[in-house]
Amino acid sequence: MTIMQSFTELVHQRQQRESAKRNRPVESEVTKLDVRNLNFFYGEKQALFDVSMTVAERAVTAFIGPSGCGKSTFLRALNRMNDIIEGAHHNGTVLLEGQEIYAPDVDVVSLRKRVGMVFQKSTPFPKSIFDNVAYGPKIAGQRNHKGLSEIVEQSLKRAALWDEVKDRLQDSALALSGGQQQRLCIARALATNPDVLLMDEPASALDPASTSRVEDLIFELKQNYTIVIVTHNMQQAARISDWTAFFYQGYLIEKDHTQKLFTTPKKKQTEDYITGRFG
């Protein structure tokens, strides 16, 4: 054992002892999503083990953890994106504003309108910029061109892309840069006026400048939306989120205020992961 390893072990023992002596109060929050005892399976293989967590409204919650820890599975469980995977099943409850999203009478399309998703790789349709953003509202029944134009403009403005594309809305979305395409996907997700925005590593394929724009955008969006983000970039989680949850081997190890989790994590596994001692 090196000097530094023994130092860390020792600090952890002392910290646990001292924090056990002084119970710290938990701050109150308005809960948007309430997940209770969620177990998730891909066929025989269990990917999530008894995960319970609340997601605060109008805040950014980041999920971190090594590859295969279950963070993306958990994220996708929040808008039933895993339903399309053959053999996937679960038990436990996922409540969106108190309503079970896996209840038999829930319309999945309506659910995904309320809980939008942005993926790691930007996935614009091979259509115009306008049509990409208007796609969701059109499916939802919005046919009026003036109404659609308003939605497109508002969504692009919220995604901080309007000024860059307002003069070329009919150009192909595929002609945009990587960073612009990702913001277009965010605009597309916003067009259906969701309550919650799920983001699966939204900036991992972007250069530093585009990453910074997407991070600024996430900060802006949390004024109106509940945002849940999966990221491999811990500095990014530390920068943009209010809450951070650490997953490991399918278990939720710890969730806390981001500042607290990155300065004084309660669990040793969290400490070891975020300081790069494993994972």
């Binding site: 600090v11 910290q15 001292e18 924090s19 002084r22 990155f262 004084t264 300081t275 790069g276």
Partner: protein, 220 residues
């Protein structure tokens, strides 16, 4: 943790321990000067203070390098910020030690004034606090650190009593005003050593428990 970060943190730790040892020696010698002042020895102490200044700068540079290159979090972040702060506190203690020795030397060739037992007691308490604060850092002992914070009150009380006695001496023996002012100044410096030891102890509590206890009394 990357090998680079492990190595850099190890170097940092060793440098801070060397700085601690130098400052402890310095403050011990400075306090001893009060009983037996010697101008040549005081000059030597000033040289030793230069060494502490170099430690302070190199530790700060090392910390900044680690922050920029490794972007540490959790225990590593607390450790680096604590090392930076402790280094600053030690640098001030070294400066103060030189001032104490200078004040002691100012007593040479002055009309006789007794260095009270209380001042000796206060000096040994302040030095002990510093010694224990360093022990608390090395042993990651936050309970010891909290005890040190509490013990500062006793030093403050002694400080008030000594100042009051010196004021009386100056009123009753105007011919002793000059040496009394030197002792007055030395007393204040010793009290500051105890304050810096307290700050180090508070930093150790943050390092170990992640809790900032500084200025706690003012927020209650």
């Amino acid at each position: 943790m990357s090998t680079h970060l492990t190595r850099d943190l190890g170097v940092l730790h060793r440098n801070l321990l060397s700085m601690c040892a130098t400052v402890e020696e310095l403050v011990h010698k400075a306090v001893d000067e009060l009983a037996d002042p010697n101008i040549d020895r005081a000059k030597e102490l000033a040289k030793q203070d230069d060494e502490v200044d170099r430690f302070d700068v190199s530790i700060e540079e090392e910390c900044l390098k680690i922050l920029a290159l490794h972007q540490p979090v959790a225990i590593d972040l607390r450790r680096i910020t604590t090392v930076m702060k402790i280094s600053g506190e030690l640098e001030r203690v070294a400066d103060i030690s030189v001032h104490i020795a200078e004040r002691a030397c100012a007593l040479v060739n002055q009309p006789g004034i007794e260095v009270s037992e209380k001042l000796q007691e206060m000096a040994s308490r302040a030095v002990e606090m510093l010694h224990k604060a360093i022990d608390a850092y090395v042993g990651l002992d936050s309970q010891l650190a909290r005890n040190i914070v509490e013990s500062d009150n006793a030093v403050d009380e002694l400080n008030r009593e000594i100042i009051s006695e010196l004021m009386d001496t100056m009123q009753q023996h105007p011919e002793l005003i000059e040496p009394a002012i030197s002792l007055f100044s030395a007393t204040r410096h010793i009290e500051r050593v105890a304050d810096h030891a307290t700050n180090i102890a508070e930093d150790v509590v943050y390092l170990v428990e992640g809790e900032i206890i500084r200025h706690r009394a003012h927020f209650r």
